[in-house]
Symmetry: C2
Subunit: 345 residues, 2 copies
């Protein structure tokens, strides 16, 4: 597989991005096409001694910062002759020169560029970012976690369909259990959006199991959880914030405690490291931006080389599984994700 | 102050409820009126040897279970002659025979009963449950966390006003900083509701500081955070779920580790207990149901006697501070929480 990778993406670019690219090429044999400013990226790539590894660099004279937004972003996203590393990377996918594009950069910018340059899959109205969350039993795909703060009930059916295909084709979950994130398990709980989406999901051919609360998500009750981008973002960020609050507080309490507690702290360090790993979404590399007409994966800005390598792996798996084609076929089979009358199977 | 307390509220009723009532009467000298089935509650109260403490029991032949909902609940809520402990307790407040009602029972049932029997404060359209969250710097009042999954932008102004008066009069925060829970800090981020509420809050006399993400809530950036009951519930329950996932995982990792790690676990136990305390909302006792025309506090079903005692304390503080009257006056001063044209001050 050929994976295009934004060399200017992560907060500490280009080091994590370039090191992750070279490590991925070495580990999986995928061709990695780095895109970035050759003056900045070139020397770092040389340092990695890629030798005969299938890694090459395409020059991009511009980059998109974390602050980019609004009209300025839209204009850059739409520029005819792509100049930013993101636009050049996305165009490689559009032109069939790469199987997927991966970036650790500004999520909003990446989504806007993918949306403008690739367009949407037929029958899908809204794109959704679909990261993987850790659970007591394994993992769960949650979408959307931030692209669309305001959606219609039908969009949740599209999300459910795309999330299921991702869980099945890339993550190996057969007949994934799909649930709606809600403020109560019982049918009838939820806001307007959840209540209206329920009969649409019940009428679909998906393995819809009803509502789940956050604790059921973490207990592993569902494989795919759908929600609007506002609530999904609150879910993601509350989880991250509490995880950080707890681990920071434990550290502080131990450091300010008597020596024997500090000794205890040293002894439990390996256990704590496992917990941090569990709560660190960047372990999963990157999340697919589902719904756009081309494979795009977006990771955390604070990704390290390991996370970048994982992201390349996941993108390559999705490409190999033909995920886009599977989603396209499934949408066609459903009539359209937006058609509530498509009926069972 | 006279506090009416549902003796049939907590999951393990009546023990935590009755023990908490007696402990509160002993500690604060408030009169506590227990309401519950005298055959069940009477003997437990006797066991507590209340002696001359100002604790008495009013018989209630019925109770509301955690499963009560829909029409059956509405009918019970509206019954002319109150029979359930919740309805009798709320009526004591309505009739001026108690200054506040406290229950650890079914939140939805308590809210419905308070709404039907007390009605709303003039100028407030929706009630909101307003618990206190722990932060790095102290605490933050968050509302609504579950009563209203679907609201209008104006309702967020009402919530902000009521939350500010609660933080100020009961929690002692002067000029509380009010923020909107959102998926990004910048103005313009948020869903439709957040974006529409922003100018209304800016035009109010409240100390509005803009949007906050969950991590800023926990960092202590705001004193009052307003949100719809759906997102607020996701915020609350994600936080609880992650806290539980992490503490459970730490425990498991330590128990399954080599002996020296287990020893370390024993040594850090006091630090971990502090963390659990921080993450346990029931430490705060109960949350006010703001907006109904009478003081009602609702606590966790899993409350212990300590939590019940704290709940009585907080309810008594609110009564002593004249919180309802302060909110009433503030709403009148604003014209109405629902009037976007009320202007500054």
């Amino acid at each position: 597989m050929k994976i295009a990778l934004d060399a200017m993406g992560s907060d500490n670019f280009p080091h994590p991005d370039v090191e992750g690219a070279v490590a991925a090429a070495r580990a999986y044999g995928d061709e990695v096409i780095l895109i970035g400013d050759e003056k900045i990226v070139g020397p770092v790539l040389e340092d990695q001694k890629p030798g005969n590894l299938p890694v090459r660099l395409i020059h991009a004279p511009e980059m998109l910062s974390m602050e980019e937004k609004g009209l300025a972003l839209a204009l850059k996203a739409k520029q005819k002759e792509p100049k930013t590393s993101m636009a050049i990377g996305v165009d490689l996918v559009k032109d069939g020169k790469a199987d997927a594009f991966v970036t650790m950069g500004n999520t909003g910018a990446a989504a806007a560029i993918a949306f403008f340059r690739l367009g949407m899959l037929q029958g899908i109205e809204r794109p959704a970012l679909a990261p993987v969350f850790p659970t007591r039993k394994g993992f769960c795909v949650v979408l959307d976690i931030g692209i669309n703060p305001d959606i219609r009930p039908q969009n949740l059916v599209e999300f459910a369909l795309m999330g299921s295909m991702y869980a099945e084709s890339v993550r190996g979950v057969s007949h994934p259990r799909v649930a709606l994130l809600s403020n109560g398990e019982e049918t009838g709980k939820g806001n307007f959006l959840v209540r209206e989406a329920t009969p649409l999901l019940q009428a679909s051919s998906l393995n819809f199991i009803g509502n789940v609360e956050p604790k059921e998500v973490y207990a592993g009750a569902a494989d795919v959880v759908v929600t609007d981008g506002f609530s999904g973002n609150i879910f993601l960020k509350s989880s991250e914030a509490v995880a950080k609050l707890i681990t920071d507080t434990i550290k502080e309490k131990i450091l300010s405690a008597p020596p024997w507690v500090q000794l205890g702290g040293l002894l439990v360090k390996p256990a704590m490291a496992d917990v941090r790993k569990l709560m660190n979404p960047s372990e999963e590399g990157a999340a697919p931006l589902l719904g756009v007409d081309g494979l795009v994966f977006i990771g955390h800005g604070r990704s390290d080389a390991q996370a970048v390598q994982s992201a390349v792996r996941v993108a390559s798996q999705a490409a190999r599984a033909g995920m886009q084609e599977l989603i396209r076929r499934e949408v066609a089979r459903h009539g359209s994700g937006s058609d509530p009358n498509s009926g069972k199977g």
